[in-house]
């Protein structure tokens, strides 16, 4: 009930935008730019011939591979760099230089190294999501309050216990934030990566629809689906933020 009244204004804005779009297309008499209804029928066509699922699952699989690899590298590396100051001083300058390079700038190198198959987009997703996650994890370790480390030291526990019961749980909320940022970037990048020379994926769907006969109804359908899936992915990461293991961080 309350949730419904809360979302009423945004539903109103969305409806207004849809109406404006429809009226604008009708008045201008454009033959290329589609009406909302044409987008709906275009989407239905994609669902009927089965290509929509193919494109969605291809994109998601690439994100899963690139993002998974990035998590597998960023978390241990970030913990190590956060804990061992020598590692931080050695590697941090390198990452600070690599981090601001747009993933798009890596496309020529990706093609050179990995060709035009699946490996290129996976590499681009990896490259774009690994740095924010490393940075967040390192920052997480660096901001552990000293009083907790001292208490752990006082009890004389093993290194293993120190990491398992103090360092990792203390950093976990920051890691989750980093993963949320990383996954968001990964989803942005997969679409861009698929626009080059691939035969599947939502990015390919958009480029192909334009190139093969100006099907702008499918272009916009692809864009909307990308937005909705991105929203779902972010919602999933938000669920992680409510997990028992990180909730203490937000409980004040």
């Amino acid at each position: 009930m309350n949730k419904l009244t809360q979302s009423l204004p945004s539903i109103g804005v969305l409806s207004l935008l849809l109406a404006a779009w429809w009226i604008a297309v009708a008045w201008s008499g454009s033959v290329i730019f589609p009406t909302p209804w044409q987008v709906v029928t275009g989407t239905a066509e994609l669902i009927r011939n089965g290509t929509l699922w193919l494109h969605i699952s291809s994109s998601l699989l690439r994100v899963a591979a690139g993002f998974g690899l990035a998590v597998a590298l960023a978390l241990p590396l970030g913990l190590w760099m956060g804990w061992v100051n020598g590692a931080y001083l050695t590697l941090n300058p390198l990452f600070q230089i690599l981090r601001p390079i747009s993933p798009i700038a890596w496309i020529p190198i990706a093609i050179l190294w990995f060709g035009v198959g699946n490996a290129s987009p996976v590499f681009l997703i990896f490259i774009s999501s690994v740095f924010p996650m490393i940075v967040q994890t390192v920052a997480g370790v660096h901001t552990i309050e000293k009083r907790y480390l001292r208490a752990a030291e006082n009890f004389g526990v093993s290194r293993y216990t120190l990491f398992r019961q103090v360092v990792i749980p203390a950093v976990l909320p920051q890691i989750v934030v980093g993963m949320r940022i990383g996954l968001g970037v990964a989803w942005l990048v997969v679409v861009a990566a698929e626009m080059i020379a691939l035969r599947s994926g939502l990015g390919y769907l958009i480029m192909d629809s334009r190139n093969a006969g100006n099907r702008y109804d499918l272009v916009i359908a692809g864009m909307i689906i990308i937005g909705l899936i991105g929203l779902l992915l972010d919602g999933g990461m938000r669920l992680l933020e409510g997990h028992r293991l990180v909730r203490w961080r937000y409980a004040h």
Binding site: R147, Y148, R150, A151, A152, E153, N154, F155, G156, V157, S158, T161, Q165, V166, P169, A170, L172, L245, R247, W248, R249, A251, H252
Partner: protein
């Protein structure tokens, strides 16, 4: 008055000095402190704010190294912290990401106890936290957090308890209640205790001896024995007399 010369003091602090260096200036904080604490003794440290009490306690517990002098525990020079002496810090250090029970079991990691949860729950009930074992620290009140911290220290049966203003954030009634609980626990399990406090009444309530520290750089300025048997009546004329004497040393006329 100074009970000196006991060859086997539990804690023996000899001429300890410490200064903090900051941008060319050196701030002397601890200026040649000598003190001894006997096994099983309860000593209260009292002194003006910022005089160096926390610094002194960190030096004794091994978290800081003295510039000069040395700290001996059982006759052996102390260089780093150990679970033989647990420090309850001024800001509190209960891990917010662990439950009360997990916090209490923390110090038992690596020990060969078969029933860690049993031990943890025993101490939880001793400090009145029965029923909160699975709660997270953010679900507890300030007084409960302090009690959890005390219980976490007691679980490892430390020979020495270092307490830095453990009850100062609590209201008077809760402070009194925890002090009585602490006395009951100490009657059962003998710990040597070094406690920092701002509160003269608290010191008279709990301690066997009160050391008054001077303003920074701090030294031991005066020593008072508290010869009253437990349970103590803080309203007795002798206790009031002692209170006035301690306050006078602190530069307050009561």
């Amino acid at each position: 008055m100074h009970t000196n010369g006991s060859a086997r003091a539990k804690i023996d602090v000899r001429n300890v000095r410490k200064a903090f260096a900051s941008e060319k200036v050196s701030l002397p904080v601890v200026d040649g402190v000598d003190l001894q604490v006997a096994d099983g003794e309860f000593v209260a440290l009292i002194g003006p704010s910022g005089c160096g009490k926390t610094t002194l306690m960190n030096l004794i517990a091994g978290f800081l190294q003295p510039d000069d002098g040395a700290v001996f525990i059982d006759g052996i020079e102390r260089r780093k912290p150990s679970s033989q002496g647990i420090l309850i810090s001024q800001q509190g250090s209960i891990f917010p990401w662990l439950t009360v029970q997990e916090n209490l079991m923390f110090g038992l990691n690596g020990h060969a106890h078969t029933d860690k949860t049993g031990i943890a729950d025993h101490y939880a009930s001793i400090v009145g936290l029965k029923g909160f074992e699975t709660s997270y620290p953010h679900q507890l009140s300030g007084g409960m957090l302090k009690r959890a911290e005390l219980a976490r220290a007691l679980v490892v049966k430390p020979e020495i308890l270092y307490m830095d203003e453990p009850f100062s954030a609590l209201d008077a009634l809760m402070g009194l209640r925890i002090r009585n609980e602490l006395l009951r626990i100490l009657a059962e399990e003998r710990h040597t205790v070094l406690m920092i406090t701002h509160d003269v009444e608290e010191a008279i309530h709990l301690a066997d001896r009160i050391l008054v520290l001077s303003p920074r750089p701090t030294r031991v300025q005066a020593v008072f024995d508290v010869p009253f048997a437990h349970p103590r009546r803080l309203t007795s004329p002798e206790a009031q007399e002692l209170r006035v004497a301690v306050l006078r040393q602190l530069g307050v006329d009561a």
